[in-house]
């Protein structure tokens, strides 16, 4: 079923937004991903993903405060929507189903 479409990076972004809860905006999301997953994230890739997720209705955004280090530009905070939550749950459950479907033997072979 193609009901919920979520790419790998998009999923990571969604999860991070969830982790950061009320403090999820561009820079904090980027840092969080970089620290937790130890991979570099470019602003361009992140913003594209955020925009796409917002367009799909998985995230919603609101403008926050402007600080001096941001040269007076407002922060754009993101929040997971109900639809976003469903999509994430859907993905998690499909993953879990797949996990549980793997026979134990498969793992043993790998250990040997």
């Amino acid at each position: 079923m193609k009901k919920y479409q979520l790419g790998e990076f998009e999923e990571v972004v969604m999860l991070t937004v969830g982790i950061l809860y009320k403090d999820a905006y561009g820079v904090s999301i980027k840092k969080e991903i970089e620290i937790r997953l130890k991979r570099g994230v470019s602003v361009g890739a992140l913003q594209t993903a955020l925009k796409r997720l917002e367009d799909k209705g998985y995230l919603k955004s609101f403008e926050g405060e402007a600080t001096e280090e941001r040269a007076g530009r407002p922060k754009k905070y993101f929040q997971i929507t109900a639809l976003g939550k469903k999509a994430m749950e859907h993905i998690k459950s499909t993953r879990d189903e797949l996990w549980s479907a793997i026979p134990k033997v498969a793992w043993e072979v790998k250990i040997v």
Binding site: Y25, G26, V27, K30, S42, V43, G44, A45, Q47, T48, K51, R52, E63, A66, T67, E69, R70, A71, G72, R73, P74, K75, K76
Partner: protein, 893 residues
């Protein structure tokens, strides 16, 4: 925040770049992120690394989802709206087929004429584009104070003098006309016309030689460059370079008009070059170029005029100068003024002469010049034609404006609904303009098709024999067509667009009938002016046609019927006459130097010997004694010229007009008088008086001028053969056969005199057909407009008609009621237009020689045509409406 005030800012260029490309909705927050990251990195890793990372981030942000859309972010649905406008426009076109047809057809007809003029101008502009230094080449014109138009020619020594004396001139060359005759190679002859040119010719102009070396092709005397066409005729595929030909000059004009001089042998010439003249579209047209150094030796033998230091004469040479790229045309003006000041300082007669530079690019189309190097329409003609075409275009545009404005009522609801749902006035204007542009582009397509028919008709005009219009379309021309269509659409649509968009929605939806003007004030005014213009054109073309017929029917005073004029082409008349008179069917044969009433004439001045009176200007015609018999010219006093074989220059004939001008009452009184000829010491004796006949074209002069006729066999150019046989073709065949024996080199060149006389009126035919077609267009468009209005009115009034008919009105009375307004309009147009066209046409007719009677008959005929067409147009609608069953119109709704 201002970047300049922040001491720690990232690379400005990239920041600006980011701001430029980023979607405005994302810009602020992303920029904030970037700045925050930048400050952090700068604190951690230093400026350089932070800068680099910033640049990397910006570049990676440059991706489709971040970049702002090209069509603008705010009106993202603009495209859809425009599409809807065109869809609605298209549906409106289909819904109101009659109106759309009237609009599209009217605009297309007018457009095709305008497009023809665009084509003509483009054709003219394409001349001389191949010269590499075209922008720095100037032709020198000579302005004589007493003459209105400047001469294309200039004094002979000018080119060499200006080249050596003024450093701003890079090069200069001249072309000397006067070459026109036959080149003979192994018994084969080819007629050619052209110029003397010097070696600089190829430096100034960018003509290339097919064969031969252009560096030295024109250096040596007796060198000749011919065109590939002539080379093929003479040498038939053999290598032409280095071949020698004999050249016999017959004094043919470079302009390809008639006129010949006594043949003179210019000697042997070497072919040094072959040029493919067909390849070059230039205002300079030639079949042959001869090195100017040849002039000197010809002058020594007296075969050509030596003009080396002749600053007096300015009509026998065309000078072209090439300026250095950095020089300006003002420099040339200064140089020319300085030169004239030096050369004409002491010359009382030519003191006010002025030499002016004319850029090569301004020659075609250019101002009207005298003594042109080739025929072309002067720019004034284009102004005139453009004026006519624009008048027609305006008329068609007015139709569109009229009909669209009138239809406000039908569209009122649509406008109201649009306004209520939030359309701004701007949007409505845009919508109506897009509709008018749609119409104008449809017209453009139709106009292109019409142009396919208009173009050959135009090229078929007689005058095109001399002007060589090719009228090729190319991408530039198409670009102008599209631009033109766009402009027409905008201009025609702008008034209705503003007018319709002004409607108040509430009124529009309530359908208050008072909203669009019921009076049609503006429309009536415009329509009346269309009909006035149409009436003027119709009257003018009828008048011109009458004038043309009048000229054709004019009594020349001699009998041109059954006369064949044969060009002698350098052959001796006595030989020709001997051979040709033997042919059965030739009743008589005579000779003359030019044909009377075909546009040529020579002049001299006479006075009675010993008289104190001033000389009387007279035309001179050279004929033999049989000429009077052939043309049936009557001798009313004295006797005919003496026999050709005993011919003597001493004896002349005069016409009645000359006798009167010289102060004699009776023709017989002058017979035997001695006359002095201006500039000649020999006396001439009047032996007879000939009845007046026309020797000038009817359009040239009304009153018959004085003429003297004398006999000088060396000047004969034409043989006049009176044919009595009824079988023209057979006689001509015999003539050709006899001619082949007589002169194997030239083909027989003959024409029937009556046809030749009719041909002199060909220019008239052209004008009649041009004005006539404009008249046709004007009336067509005016009638289309009327048709539109009539259709609309009858449609609007269908209920009224129904009710009237139910109440008992007859078909006829209803039709009359509907037509009344339009009839009034037509009558007003006639009331204004008839006196107007009578008055205007009289203005030019007054100055016309041999004018036709211009009475009320002509105007009346114009009125009848206009009224007839107008009535048919109105009647077609009103009668149809009045015949309709009233039930149909009443049962609806």
């Amino acid at each position: 925040m201002n970047l300049k005030h922040s001491s720690k800012h990232p690379p400005t260029f990239f920041l600006k770049f980011f701001r430029w490309f980023c979607h405005p909705k994302l810009k602020d927050s992303i920029e904030g992120d970037l700045m925050e990251l930048y400050q952090e990195r700068r604190a951690e890793n230093g400026k350089l690394k932070a800068d680099l990372k910033f640049v990397r981030d910006v570049l990676l942000l440059f991706r489709p989802s971040i970049i702002k859309p090209i069509e603008g972010y705010q009106n993202l649905n603009n495209y859809g709206m425009i599409k809807s406008y065109f869809a609605i426009g298209w549906r409106n076109i289909l819904k109101y087929k009659v109106f759309s047809f009237i609009n599209v057809f009217g605009l297309a007809v007018a457009m095709s004429v305008c497009m023809l003029i665009i084509l003509m101008l483009a054709d003219q502009k394409s001349y001389d584009q191949f010269h590499q230094k075209k922008n720095n080449i100037y032709r020198v014109l000579t302005k004589i104070p007493k003459s209105l138009k400047p001469n294309a020619s200039s004094p002979f020594p000018l080119a060499s003098s200006i080249k050596s004396d003024y450093p701003i001139i890079a090069d200069a060359t001249h072309l000397v006309p006067g070459i026109g005759g036959d080149a003979i190679y192994q018994q084969k002859a080819s007629e050619m016309r052209g110029f003397f040119a010097d070696a600089s010719f190829f430096d100034v102009f960018s003509f290339e030689l097919e064969k031969g070396n252009k560096q030295n092709a024109l250096s040596l005397p007796q060198s000749m460059i011919i065109t590939t066409e002539i080379a093929h005729r003479l040498f038939n595929g053999e290598e032409p370079i280095g071949k020698t030909v004999e050249f016999i000059n017959r004094g043919l004009s470079h302009l390809k008009v008639d006129g010949e001089a006594t043949p003179s042998n210019w000697g042997i010439f070497t072919i040094t070059g072959v040029i493919d003249a067909q390849k070059y579209k230039s205002h300079i047209q030639f079949g042959v170029l001869i090195s100017s150094s040849t002039i000197k030796s010809l002058a020594v033998d007296g075969k050509f005029k030596d003009m080396t230091d002749n600053w007096q004469e300015y009509s026998n040479c065309y000078s072209y100068v090439l300026l250095h790229p950095e020089s300006k045309s003002e420099d040339l003006t200064t140089a020319l003024n300085d030169l004239t000041a030096r050369k004409y300082k002491d010359n009382a007669e030519l003191k006010n002469l002025k030499l002016v530079g004319q850029n090569l690019m301004d020659i075609t189309p250019g101002i009207f010049v005298g003594n042109p190097i080739s025929f072309s329409l002067p720019i004034e003609v284009y102004y005139f034609l453009s004026f006519l075409a624009l008048a027609i275009m305006l008329s068609a545009g007015v139709n569109y404006t009229n009909l669209s404005t009138a239809r406000a009522l039908t569209r009122a609801k649509e406008i109201g609904v649009r306004k209520v749902t939030g359309a701004r006035r701007k949007d409505l204007i845009f919508q109506f303009l897009s509709e008018s542009i749609l119409i104008s582009f449809l017209s453009l397509v139709l106009a292109m098709i019409l142009l396919l028919f208009v173009k050959p008709a135009f090229k078929g005009l007689w005058v095109n024999n001399y002007l060589n219009f090719e009228l090729h379309e190319n991408s530039t021309v198409y670009f102008y067509f599209i631009l033109f269509a766009l402009l027409v659409g905008l201009l025609a649509g702008i008034y209705p667009a503003f007018r319709l968009s002004r409607l108040q929605p509430i009124l529009a939806i309530q359908k208050k009938e008072s909203v669009p003007s019921k009076k049609w004030g503006m429309q009536k005014f415009l329509s009346v002016s269309q009909f006035i213009v149409s009436l003027f054109f119709i009257t003018t073309s009828i008048l011109l046609y009458n004038q043309f017929k009048h000229h054709l029917a004019i009594d020349y005073g001699f009998n041109a019927k059954q006369i064949v004029n044969v060009k002698l082409q350098g052959n001796e008349y006595s030989k020709v006459s001997n051979e040709l008179s033997k042919i059965p069917g030739v009743a008589s044969i005579s000779a003359c130097d030019y044909l009377p009433a075909t546009g040529t004439q020579n002049n001299t001045a006479l006075k009675i010997a010993g008289s104190e009176k001033d000389y009387l200007g007279v035309t001179v015609l050279v004929t033999d004694e049989k000429f009077m018999e052939t043309l049936e010219l009557k001798i009313i006093a004295g006797k005919n010229l003496p026999d050709s074989s005993r011919a003597h220059n001493r004896f002349i004939l005069l016409n009645e007009s000359a006798i009167q001008k010289l102060g004699y009452q009776h023709p017989s009184e002058i017979v035997g008088e001695l006359m002095e000829q201006h500039g000649s010491k020999e006396m001439v004796e009047v032996v007879g008086v000939v009845r007046d006949f026309r020797f000038r074209m009817p359009s040239e002069q009304e009153v018959i001028a004085p003429i003297m006729i004398h006999n000088r066999p060396s000047s004969f150019r034409y043989a006049n053969l009176k044919i009595i046989s009824n079988d023209r073709t057979e006689t001509i065949a015999r003539l050709e056969e006899a001619w082949r024996k007589l002169d194997p080199m030239h083909p027989l060149d003959y024409q029937f005199y009556d046809e030749q006389l009719a041909e002199t009126n060909q220019g008239f035919v052209d004008i009649v057909s041009i004005i006539g077609s404009f008249a046709f267009l004007a009336i067509t468009i005016a009638c289309l407009g009327l048709l539109g209005m009539a259709t609309y009115t009858t449609e609007r009034k269908s209920k009224e008609i129904g009710i009237r008919k139910v109440m008992g009105a007859g078909d006829m009375s209803v039709a009359l009621l509907l037509s009344k307004g339009f009839l009034k309009m037509l009558l007003v147009s006639i009331g204004i237009g008839a006196p107007f066209s009578y008055f205007i046409n009289n203005l030019w007719l007054q100055h016309f020689p041999n004018r036709v009677e211009f009475g009320f008959g002509t105007v009346l005929l114009g009125i009848v045509v206009l009224l007839g067409l107008g009535l048919i147009t109105i009647g077609s609608q009103t009668f149809r409406a009045s015949k309709r069953n009233p039930v149909e119109s009443l049962k609806s709704e």
